[in-house]
């Protein structure tokens, strides 16, 4: 009699244990699911007037919402102050982020700092540009060589043996500047030797404007000026529009990025074309890739977010106007 009671007890308790175990497993799983990924993105700068960075951050935020992660955007206001950016990277490391995405300001001076990220066991994603060492888990950027090539090929159509070409670049040792210039040189092919000068504006409208003016004085027969980022392109366009403006414009300008001012210059005909980066996609892909890296999925080391060459004729197509005019402005 006693023995059979014990038997029931054993059966009943083992069943209870089983259900408890199931419950435990379940709650552990839900706990796991609830763990939110903490990600920090440090752009080169945060500038409300800069469509490129604004769209990029917008894209990143959209992905963060899509994937339910905790994304902190932390950037300075000066695209050349790498020391300030390095301090922000250190802050992100201290905040024990799961993954840090950086758009390094300097190709060389940011290297030591981003290495620290990896050394702290934090996943590292480069967005828009990288550094001189291969340290990141992935780089999401416009394929700047390809974008430069698009510029070069478009320019080539209106070049001849006598054409003189000048390049207004942005920051001398930034990887984007280096790659775009290389792409452009490859794109114009046989006319590469006719590039008379490359100047650097340090991502400053005024400096770009001033340098272009100097170029126009120095080379009166200049045929083509290529601005390799928004600041270079706008500064160049301003100078050309001011000096040669309107119907008498002799020098052709090709630009990079899509600020409102650039769009006006495109409508006006100062720019022959502009190459637009898909910055919204870049931001979105950065977050998406960061999550893949965290999950341990294999990702290609370099992911191209794409670029588009836009001329006056195709600027108002359904797709291109979306690229040119992001509507997060209020």
């Amino acid at each position: 009699m006693k023995k059979s009671y014990r038997k029931w007890l054993i059966i009943a308790s083992s069943l209870l244990c089983l259900s408890l175990l199931l419950f435990l497993i379940y709650s552990i799983q839900t706990q796991k699911e609830k763990k939110v990924v903490h990600m920090v993105y440090i752009p080169k700068l945060i500038d409300e007037t800069n469509d490129f960075w604004t769209a990029l951050i917008e894209g990143a935020n959209m992905a963060a919402k899509d994937y339910d992660i905790d994304l902190v955007i932390d950037g300075g206001s000066n695209e050349t102050d790498y020391e300030d950016q390095n301090r922000r990277i250190q802050k992100a490391i201290d905040s024990k982020a799961d993954v840090i995405a950086v758009s390094p300001i300097s190709y060389t001076n940011s290297t030591e700092m981003v290495k620290k990220v990896k050394e702290s066991g934090i996943k590292l994603i480069f967005v828009d540009s990288g550094v001189d060492e291969d340290v990141a888990d992935a780089l999401i950027a416009t394929d700047n060589f390809a974008a430069g090539m698009k510029m070069g090929k478009f320019m080539q159509q209106s070049l001849n043996e006598d054409s003189q070409i000048a390049i207004v670049s942005h920051v001398k040792d930034a990887s984007t500047a280096i790659d775009r210039e290389r792409g452009l040189r490859a794109g114009i092919g046989p006319y590469e030797d006719q590039i008379v000068e490359v100047v650097y504006c340090d991502s400053n409208y005024q400096k770009a404007y001033r340098l272009t003016k100097e170029l126009l004085e120095k080379y009166p027969d200049l045929d083509y000026i290529a601005g390799l980022n928004e600041y270079s392109a706008v500064g160049a366009a301003r100078a050309v529009d001011e000096i040669q403006g309107g119907a008498s414009q002799r020098v052709k300008v090709i630009g990079f990025d899509n600020s409102l001012e650039q769009i006006k210059f495109l409508e006006k005909g100062v720019f022959q074309a502009i190459v637009v980066q898909k910055s919204f996609n870049m931001g979105y892909l950065a977050v998406e890739t960061a999550l893949k890296v965290l999950k341990g999925e294999k990702v290609p080391p370099v992911i191209d977010s794409g670029s588009e060459l836009i001329t006056k004729d195709n600027m108002y197509t359904e797709q291109n106007q979306k690229l040119l005019f992001p509507f997060f402005d209020k």
């Binding site: 959209m62 339910d68 006006k268 919204f280 892909l285 979306k322």
Partner: protein, 605 residues
């Protein structure tokens, strides 16, 4: 051994051949309960899912119908404006100089006032203006100029308005670049204006609805944490989508075609964890389709908790049901087990304390009752049988005992006559007295057990007679320890052995035969030996010594009978043992327990 084997086999029988009814019942009950619970679980979970989806679907439909209605109301409002403008004399006069009699300044002022009133009344109107083929225009507060670098004649909304006659045209979302230095995402309603001079459409009225109002309208609708709304125009172009960028660059796709082809107002996509509920609302006014997309994960967010609750309830029910099954099964199997236990006892021949108590009036108690009656009956019959057997044995023995072989009697009497005639009085007296003793002993004592002394005396009388009959051919000696003479022995065991020795051993011997009867006390046992030097036996004869020989002329009490009775009485370890050698002699040994010794030892113990 065979029992062990049986257990072993039962233990390792295949699945569902359990050792006991109880286990079988338990397992089958549990299986039944589990399957029942599973069905219940699946049904209820499904039911919840369906209910949640239906509710969500109708809720989403309400929301997006509202969005559609809001958009319609914007458009209707703008359409009403266009009605007003189309009919306006000032518009005609301004654009086409129809009635040049009036001061242009005054007309312009009136129009600007109208524009201002309209714009002030609605915040979502971004641009309002009129424009003609020949370049006359008036936009907003009159200070805005046309975009010098882009030709408005080429613009979509302008061309469509000219082409569509008097109907208003609604554009998709686009960037309005008609005004200098102004690029705004808007939805444009445009309508052709007729030049009264030639009755041709040569101008356009347009009003731009700020796109952000539609954006806000769609954004503020919350469909779970990840759900969203998008708007598609008639030809499939996207008016609003939160991820338009990603769609254009192919990073994401939207089920625009599925939405446009859908006959129902909702459908569910099958994408695993990312399955979505699409709810569709079409507007007859704008011909736009507003689509609400909700993630099932969001909608069924608390489904996991519900599932857990269901699973826990099911587990609790299962435990309870198993406990009840255990109780029930043991209630049924307990009396059966008791019955089995009792039966085992009966099997082993134990009839004491096997009667079982019955509870209730079910089949098992009926079975128990029958069992009780049956065992009692069997017990009774066995006792009766044993008594009968005993009786039979006794009477058999008595019959045997009372039978003295008539030939032996005749021969003896003949011998007596011969001796009497020969005047051998002393011998006659001895023989007659021996015969008398023999006869007296055989009829007088009815007891089965006699003293060894009595048995020895009986044998002595028999031997005396036989010795006299066989003259000098037979000699005997009896030597029994005096301390065993008073001990008891089964009656009529010694004389038949002696008789056998004479008739089967001595009788066929040429020379004088000798019989030795010895009785010895060996402590725990008593050994009585009858030894002869007769012809002995072959091994074969010796092997069959205890078999019944009906043809015998003796009084019928053979060695087999003696042995049987000894064993019956004292147990299988006692009885007769024969040793014989052909032409040398035979020795038969009676072994019986020493009752005196047993008593002594018991006392010592």
């Amino acid at each position: 051994m065979s029992d062990e084997k049986g257990k072993w086999r039962l233990k390792f029988n295949p699945l569902f051949h359990f050792r006991s009814i109880r286990t079988t019942m338990l397992v089958s009950f549990s299986a039944l309960i589990v399957s029942g619970l599973l069905v219940f679980l699946l049904l209820s979970l499904n039911y919840t899912t369906d209910t949640v989806l239906n509710n969500s679907s109708s809720y989403t439909l309400q929301l997006i119908d509202q969005v559609n209605a809001d958009i319609d109301s914007y458009i209707s409002y703008m359409d009403n404006l266009s009605d007003m403008m189309v009919g306006s004399v000032d518009v005609r006069n301004y654009l086409f100089r129809y009635n040049s009699g009036e001061n242009k300044e005054a007309i312009t002022q009136r129009l600007l006032n109208t524009f201002k009133t309209l714009k002030d009344s609605r915040e979502d109107i971004y641009n309002i203006g009129i424009i003609s083929n020949n370049g006359e225009y008036l936009i907003n507060d009159g200070t805005d100029s046309l975009n010098a670098y882009m030709d408005y004649h080429e613009m979509d909304w302008y061309q469509k308005a000219l082409l569509s006659g008097k109907e208003a045209v609604i554009s998709s979302s686009h960037v309005q670049n008609v005004v200098q230095n102004d690029y705004k995402w808007v939805v444009t309603l445009s309508r052709g204006l007729v030049n009264p001079v030639n009755n041709q459409i040569e101008g356009v009225f347009f009003v731009d609805l700020n796109y952000s109002s539609i954006n806000d309208l769609c954004e503020k609708i919350s469909l779970g944490s990840k759900g969203y709304i998008f708007v598609v125009e008639e030809n499939g172009g996207i008016v609003y989508h939160p991820q338009q960028h990603l769609l254009y660059s192919g990073l994401k796709t939207e089920r625009v075609d599925e939405v446009r082809n859908s006959k129902t107002n909702s459908f569910i996509t099958d994408e695993g964890d990312n399955s979505k509920l699409y709810t569709i609302s079409k507007s007859d006014r704008t011909h736009w389709t507003v689509v609400g997309v909700a993630y099932l994960e969001d909608l069924l967010g608390n489904r996991k908790e519900t599932q857990l609750t269901y699973v826990l309830i099911a587990a609790a029910l299962f435990v309870a049901a198993v406990l009840i099954a255990i109780l029930l099964s043991s209630m049924i199997t307990k009396p059966i087990k008791a019955l089995v236990k009792s039966m085992k006892k009966v099997e082993q021949g134990q009839f004491e304390n096997v009667t079982l108590q019955t509870v209730g009036h079910n089949e098992i108690s009926a079975l128990t009752n029958s069992f009780n009656i049956m065992t009692e009956e069997i017990h009774h019959l066995m006792i009766q049988n044993m008594e009968e057997q005993e009786q039979k044995r006794k009477s058999e023995l008595m019959a045997l005992q009372s039978q003295i072989n008539p030939h032996f009697l005749y021969n003896t009497l003949d011998s007596i006559i011969w001796m009497a005639e020969g005047g051998k009085n002393r011998e006659v007296v001895l023989m007659t007295s021996s015969l008398a003793k023999l006869l007296r002993q055989s009829i007088s004592n009815e007891d089965e057990i006699v003293t060894i002394a009595s048995e020895v005396e009986y044998t002595r009388s028999y031997l005396t007679i036989q010795k006299m009959r066989y003259q000098d051919r037979l000699e005997f000696s009896i030597d029994v320890d005096p301390d065993i003479l008073d001990l008891k022995i089964v009656k009529l065991v010694l004389q038949p052995l002696v008789e056998n020795a004479i008739y089967h051993g001595i009788k066929y011997k040429e020379t004088k035969g000798m019989i030795w009867v010895t009785g010895r006390n060996l402590g725990s046992i008593i050994v009585i030996r009858v030894e002869d030097n007769g012809i002995g036996m072959t091994e074969e004869q010796l092997a069959h010594i205890f078999e019944k020989k009906t043809s015998r002329k003796s009084n019928g009490v053979g060695a087999g009978n003696v042995n049987k009775r000894l064993r019956l009485y004292y147990g299988p370890e006692y009885g007769l043992t024969y040793e014989s050698q052909l032409n040398v002699g035979t020795t038969v040994t009676i072994r019986i327990p020493n009752s005196a010794w047993e008593e002594e030892n018991e006392e010592e113990l």
